[in-house]
Structures are given as C-alpha cells and as structure tokens.
Subunit: 309 residues, 4 copies
C-alpha cells in the first residue's frame, strides 16, 4: 500500500439475493464495475456495505470474495465495525486472514466510553490488529465525534494510518489536515464536497455514491490532481444531482434504508447487480421509487438497463 | 417458564481473568451467590454482563456455563445484543442451542432505523428466534426509546413476551403496565425505584446492583409481594445508598467502566469472584477507589472479605 | 410561604384570545377553578403556561393578574424562563414587582454551558433575585440534566429552595430526596407517577394535567398524606387515562402543541376558558381532535360543557 | 441592500464593562475596526454578540449604537434570537425601529416544534416583521437542523432572503446553493472553510473570528472574487491557525465561554476594546490564557498592544 492512501476508495455495497444471502456473483461484478471505473482502492464492510446487517460468516465471505477477486490490484480496506475492542479485534483476525491491506474502525458504541478509553481502544487495535488502522469518524452512528486533538495524538504516535471522516465537520477535518504528520491519510466520506475536501488537502474520498458512478468520482479526483478545479467542481455538482436518489425513499423509512436502498436500486438498474435487495429490517424501495431513481440516473447521463436511456 | 415472568432477575456480571478471558469458575460462584440470594431468574449477556465487550465464543461460553450450572432451577434469559436483525438472529441460534429460556433484544443501533423498521425487527425475531422475546428498552445505548404504543402493539400481537425497561421513563412504563395484555411482563431496569415500579404494577426487576446484593433485592420484592411497602421502601433506600459505588470512578472514566467496575470490585471484595477485571478499553478502578467501595459496602452491612467488617 | 413547599402546584395555562392576546378574564376563571380544586400553590410562566411564547408584556400581565387575584391565598411561583443569567434576572425583577413568592429557573440554554457555569448561574440568581429560587430540571427543553450532586451542592449552601424535577429520572430524584438538607423541596413534574414520587418522599407535584383536573391531583395528594396509598394509586391511574388527551394531536404537530393544545381544549370543553387557542407557531387541534378529547374527559368522569356528560 | 447579500459580514462582539454593561465606546471602536477592515456588512445580536446574554434594553442599545454609527455605510443585520415567533416578532419591532436592514432568526428552541411549525414560524416572521428575514441554521444551539428542502421551500415563496448556515453541514449547504432561486443569499458561518464555501457558490461569510481579524477575511473573499484561489486558501489556512485561540479555554469552561472569551481577549490585546469581559455565567479566561492568545495572535502577524510584537 502506498502511504498516504489516496484517491477514490468506494465503500463497496454488499449485493444480496432475495433470500438475504450474499450474492457473490453480483459482488464480483460490482468490484469489476468499480475497478473498471478506475478506483484506487476498495473499502469493504463499511456502513454502505451494510456491515451492521451482516453475520460473521457473511462478513468473511464478502471480504474473501473481494480480496480474492482483486488479487492485489488495488488496496482492500476492511471495516471491523463492532461495539468494543475485543469484538473489533476478532473481526481484525478475520480480515488479516482474508488478505485485507488495512482496517477501518470506529470508536466504541453502545457503551458509554470516555475519550481516554476511545484513545486506548485505537491504541490496542494498533498494537494487536496486525494491519494499519484507519479511524472511521461517524458520529451519526457512533454518537461520539473523534476530536482533531485525539486523531492527531494517535497519528503522531503511529497508532493510526489515517481517518475516514464521515462527520461532515470539514472545519475539524481541516485542522487535522494542517497539523497531521507526513503519511497520515485524510479521506472524506462526504460525497457532496469532495472537490472542497481535496482543495483543503484531503488525500481521497470514500463515497457511498461511488458505487453507482465510480467514473464520476474518478474524473473528479483526476481533475483536481491536474489542477483543473473548475472541471472537478462541475463533476461534483453533477454528482450532487445524482445524490438526490438517496432522498427518494423519504420519510417512510430510515435514512439507512433510503440511502443503501437507492445505491442498490441504481446498481440494479445499471445492470451491475442481480437484485436490489437490502437486509432486514430495512424497508425496501417500491416500483415507483425505482422509477424515480431511474430518471435521476438518466438525468446525469447514466445508462439504465433495458431502457435505452 | 411462568408467564408473566416475575421477581428479581439480575443481569449477571461476566467475571474475567487478568488476561480478559471468561473466568468460568468465578461465574459459577457468582451464579451460586445469586441463587443462594433467592433470585427468580438470571439474565446473561446484557449490558451489565459486558456483552458489548465479549466475542462470540465468549458469549457462548458464558451462556453455556450459566445454563448448564443452573440446570433449570430458574429461567435463564439470554441477551442477543447486536446491531440489526440478522446479527441478532445469529446470537439467538446460539442461545437456543445453549438452552436459554428466553431472549432479550434491543432495537437496532448504529444504523438509522425507522419506527416501522424497529417494529419489523421485533416481529422477525419473534417469528424466527424460536424463544420468547423480551424487548430491552435502553435509549442510553441504543439512542431510540421504544414507545408505549409500539410495545403495546407488539404485545397485542404476541411478538413480545415482555419488556425490560431501562429507559428510566416510569411514566411511559406505567402506560404500558395499565394497557398491556395479560401475561406481558414488565420488568424495570431502574435499580433505585423498584418499590415504586412494583407499586405501579411492574412484575419484577433486572438490577445490575443485584449482582452485589441479591438478598437485598429479593427482600425488597418479597416485602412488596406481601404488601409490606414500608419494608420494601426501607430496603430500597438502603440499596440507593449502596448504589453510590457506581459513582466512585467519577469523571475520569466512562459511565460503563465506573458502573461495571464497581459491581465487579464489590463482588471481588465480597469474595464472590476472583478478579475485579473489566474488559478493555474500560479504565480500571484503582486501589483507592476499591477502598472507597469497600467502605460503602460495609456501610450497608455487607461483609467484605478479609476485613472482618 | 411554608418551607418546604408541598402539595399540588399546577403550572397555570395561559388562556389566549383568538388574536393571541392574554385572555385575562379566562385566566382569572382558571385560577378560580384551580383554587376551588384545592391546589396548594400556583406556578405561572412555566412551560405549560406557554412562557416560551409570551412577550415580556404578556408575561408581566399574566403574573400580575394571577398574583393580584390570588391575593396571598396560596403561594405564587413565577417562572423566569430565559437563556442566561442576565435575562433571567430581568424576569426576576418583574416577578418581584408583581408580588411573586418564589422563582423557578432552568439551567442556561441555547448557549453551551459548563456545569460550573450552571452552578454559577444559580448562585447568581440566588444572590440577586430577591426571592427563593427553585431549579427547573427540564432536559427535554434545556438539553442538560441537573445532576443530583449539583442540586445537593446548591441546596446545602442555600442557593436553591427546591427543585421542580421534570426530567423523568426518578432514580436521580430519589438520590436528591434522600440526601437533601431539611427544608429543600422536591416537586415532581411527572404527571403519571405522582403517587410513586410522594412514596419516595417528594413534597409535591407540578402537573400540567392539573389544569384540567385539579381535584384529581388534590385527591391523590390527600390520599397519600393520610397514608391511603391504594386510593392514591387509583386516582393516579385514572389520571394516567386522562393524560391520553396529550396524544390526540399525534405526529402531525410538535409535542408542545399536542400537550398544551390538549390542556386548553379540555379547559375549553369544561367551560373554564373562553377559547382553546395556543400561541403561534403551534398547530391547533381540529374539531375531530376536540371531540376525541371530550370523550376522554367523559371517560374519567369530567363533565363537558353543553353535552350533559 | 444589495441582493443577494455578499462578502464578509462579521457577527459583531458586544464589548462589556467590568460591571457587565454594554461598553458603547468600545463597540463603536469595534465597528470602526471592522469597517476599516473592509467588511461588507455587520451582523449584530447574533450568538457571537452574546445576544443570549443581553437584556432587552442592552440589545436595543447595541443595535442603536451600531446602526447609528454605521449610518448606512454597510447593511446592518439584526439577530432576533428568541424561543418562539411572538418573542421574535417583539425583537423585530425593536430592530425595525433602530434602523436594521434585515433580520436573522433561528428556528424555535426550548419548545418541541414540528417541521411544519418551523416553516410557519418563518412564514409569520416574513409576513409581519417588516424586514427581509435570514434563517440562522445553528443546530448546536437550537437542536434542530433546517433541512435543504425547508430552506428551498421558504426561499421559493419569498419568505426568506437567505440563510446563515452555521450547521457545519456543507453538503446540505451545497444542495441549497445549487437549487436556490436567484437572489437567495447563502452565507456560511463556518470560519475554517470559507474558501471552500465560496468555491461551492456561497455568497459570503459570517465569521466570529472576523471580529479579531477582519482584514484577513476580507483578503480571503477578495482573493476568491478575483479567482486567486491559492491566495484565498493561504489566507484561510492562516485563519485556521488563528482560530486556535478558541481552544485555549479548554475543558474548564463551556464552548461559548472559550470562544467568545477568546475573541474578546484578542480584541482587547489588539487594543480595540477596553475590557475582555464576557457576560455571566461564563467563566473568564485567566492571565495565562490571555498570554497564550497573545502568542497565537503574534504567530499570524497580528500586532498586540503594548508588546511591540
């Protein structure tokens, strides 16, 4: 793995069969779709992968399928999402065995954890996990924000290789960017402000929406890399319009269902995956909502299977 | 199992070795301590059991150890604490195999879940888990409150056998008590208001502090059962004083560490378990804090090992 | 004022004209209704009084109207609800001038305030306000909980005369009850658990629902005072059923509108106030919802104007 | 007033005497300091103005002092921060009388308000306030986020002239920017990402830190306006370093005290205001903390009074 990690590293959706088993064939097609789109790495078993809904065996299958199919062409980061250190370490062992290149871990959740304990959590992971650890800052799920000071302390001592910042707090992210040690990677998880994050010095992006349109995010990052910021912005604004798909599910379901359901519906409509199925208890999108997603795809120039649009 | 479930059903702490493995010998002694105290059931793998810190293998070991040692003398409820339905169902399969009598499940967490999805979560568990399901209402961990309406709807259709209410919202609990169908069990998880909860019609209590002093909670419930409410209150007020042990850790650690650490320190000081060890990344209580806990135990008349008090 | 303050002290609704001015005539009738019901004090300008919606002039008018009409027959507590100490002190000056007997103040809100600053807030109020100060613990509005330790520290130094506990956390309230100095008054704001609160040692209750049925709460407190706890519980359970009126507005409006609208609709239906009007931007209840409230009133034996029920 | 409002519109601090009265002489000097720095408007009575701590008379004095001294040279926006519509309208009347050019209002707070009620709140303000209304999106204080949909709906019907977005959610802000009607002004309140916000299409910035260094923010905005984004970024990064002053107060005080205290300490050290005093109950910064702030000022090239640095 290059240090720091850079570019587009989408959090790979986990295609499922109608019976809610991992659809490995679709997963392989999705990986091909992403690699063909030019992404620079893959993040499996994150929130957008429905890691929270996958059993241990399903998680292992996903990781083995992706790592095996990728075969080292790009780095594979493995989410180790769980409540506390011992359980996260258990996922780390599976990830190491499956050939992951790095781990992505949140702060503890469900428990009521002191900042000093969060720090210890990452220190223990760093010592024992056997792979570089990226912090996953996701307050909407974890209900704590990783402070810039904490991230920088852990970066300075080498416990963290980087952060995936899905907090939406770009001011705090910028403080990390400006004060971090060399090699510490800052990746934004905010799909709608990637040009801005790269402008500030972020190294890359982990966009859930990148499942649907990896080419768009790759174009965005490439434009920024060559200094063509106007092109980067234009691409980002197109992706902002595409992001409307996550609002189609509306208030009749949770934000997880609406977002993950939209990504999978779009991947299904684009012909990448076999079934637009999300794990229970998520409410599925209906036919009308699928049609609206199809129109939003078409409006940004994405072909939809069987429609000729 | 009797219906509704009644009495004192402590959430059993999980003793650990200094290496953070399950200390099965201490766990058996703890179960004996609780049974000797007269408790009416045992709840394993709840929050007070550090379920959030236990690996899958450790959870299974705890459950098998307790269920095996109890041998049907009292009902054993198994927590199936995890983020979403598929992962909870996996824990349920382990619990069924280990011989648990019922399951205790929270709403989904980490994910952003709609009330209709929470309802579906419990419905799916009820259909597939193979054991009666108790809802675990714990907003401090799960970040959603189970409404009285939701609980009553699930109770009416038979999807839930009862609720362990650790929300602290006794007004809402009372609405459930007054409107529930026959056989639906309401258990309070609020250790400091058990007499009041019983007075309102609750069926029992799941007190973390009951690990330390099961005799006290059993006396409380027995006094209430025979209508001697003054005795129940006197016992409860004594237990309120004992509950001060959870505040000894103070602001230098999280609320989980301070509470679970205090219970384990007290069990160690009383000679029940071999080591006052909690799982990482929880900050341990120090010697001074142990001494203060010892004094609080003595002040309510609990013998402390080796001190003669 | 007797110390500690005891009994039923309803937070007096503020009747309004269709043009959203204070309806002083209805307010006087409401005070008479409450005094006739036997209440032991009146709390004006609290949350149930829509204090958050009243201008300075309206607040003063309400306070002068009530204090003038009461004429010392019962203590009048004045809410001084505002964001920070200087603004609260300004309300305190008005309250002193209007003849209030005591003040009720929350922690600062809107600002991000440290616990030491919350402590200073109450200390400054105690020094400068010129009347006894009751703390108003209302996390649902203020977004901080007043800890038992903070309340007890302020009680010990004489800065607080008591607390109106609307936190719903009866365990914490009990810790205050058991450790408070003599004369410090603990009043519950939880309408559904008054018998339990009195059982634990609370001195009284500040029930929003007491506007609608002061007689019921007075009977409840009287039964508890004479040791007839079964009668207290029976009355409380009847009031729990009556409390269903606050749920009629349902999800189409905020909890403030649904609750305050229901109290005012009930007072209108009972013939106490002239208009069931709440302040903007609260959504008003409609005719169908009024009818449902009427049925709920009738079901607990309250006469509704013009219906003969 | 030009439409849309653009440029640097600092939220003007409210200098205070040691006795916590408005220090009008210092306020005039601060306004001169800001105008000399080239700002394009002034926002008085916002959060950074300690509006939450000012009495009605103090608020009026501040507004009259600033509006009178500015004399139309730049637009003056007046915060009308209060809990609900009727109280906000009362502040609006004062603002109109004092000659403000526009109003800035939050969603209701303290009360529990439905989104439809928040919408009605802004509609009523628009109809009755007599000045253009800017929405102030400040979830950290108000505990609700104004959704992009709500802002756009109110923008489309002409009820809002713009938004001051202090939510930190730049993804949502971008959705507003891309979908807003002509003339609707989007101002960021996030001091650390102004270059990025302008890049996305925001019209200006309302930076609390702009009190301390208006020249810096004006240079930043000017650089962006002429397309010299590298210079804008360099200036922004310098201001990120300056922003470290808000962290000097650290965990011994609230975030309000630490931030507002730092701004005032810096203004005092720079010789702009007479006293580094904040309103009670905010904990004041001490001499050591003042010294650290002085060093941070010097490090970014700001002269400190009497030190020659």
């Amino acid at each position: 793995m290059t240090v720091p990690l850079t570019g587009v590293i989408p959090p790979v959706c986990t295609p499922m069969t109608p019976g809610h088993e991992v659809d490995a064939a679709s997963l392989v097609r999705l990986v091909d779709h992403l690699l063909e789109g030019g992404v620079h790495g893959l993040f499996v078993l994150g929130s957008s992968s429905e890691a929270a809904y996958l059993t241990g065996a399903q998680r292992a299958l996903v990781l083995e399928t992706v790592a095996g199919h990728v075969g080292g062409r790009v780095p594979v980061l493995a989410g180790v999402i769980d409540m506390t250190t011992p359980r996260v370490l258990e996922h780390a062992r599976v990830a190491v065995a499956a050939g992951a290149d790095a781990l992505v871990a949140t702060a503890p959740f469900y428990t009521r954890t002191h900042p000093a304990e969060i720090r210890d959590h990452f220190r223990i992971l760093a010592e024992r996990a056997g792979l570089p650890v990226y912090a996953y800052d996701l307050p909407v799920s974890v209900h704590t924000k990783l402070s810039a000071d904490l991230l920088l302390e852990l970066a300075a001592e080498g416990a963290l290789a980087g952060v995936k910042d899905s907090s939406g707090d770009d001011g705090a992210m910028r403080q990390v960017i400006l004060r971090r040690p060399p090699g510490f990677s800052v990746l934004t998880g905010s799909e709608l402000t990637v040009d801005a994050a790269l402008w500030m010095g972020a190294d890359g992006v982990v966009p859930g929406l990148g499942n649907v349109d990896p080419h768009g995010y790759v174009r965005l990052v490439a434009a920024a890399a060559r200094g063509d910021w106007a092109a980067a912005r234009e691409e980002q604004e197109r992706l902002v319009r595409l992001f409307e798909i996550v609002r189609v599910g509306g208030p009749r379901m949770g934000a997880s269902s609406a977002g993950l359901g939209a990504f999978k519906a779009a991947l299904f409509l684009r012909g990448v995956i076999g079934h637009p199925v999300t794990a229970p208890p998520q409410i599925p999108l209906n036919a009308d909502e699928h049609a609206r997603i199809g129109k939003l795809l078409a409006a940004v120039g994405l072909l939809v299977r069987g429609t000729g649009t």
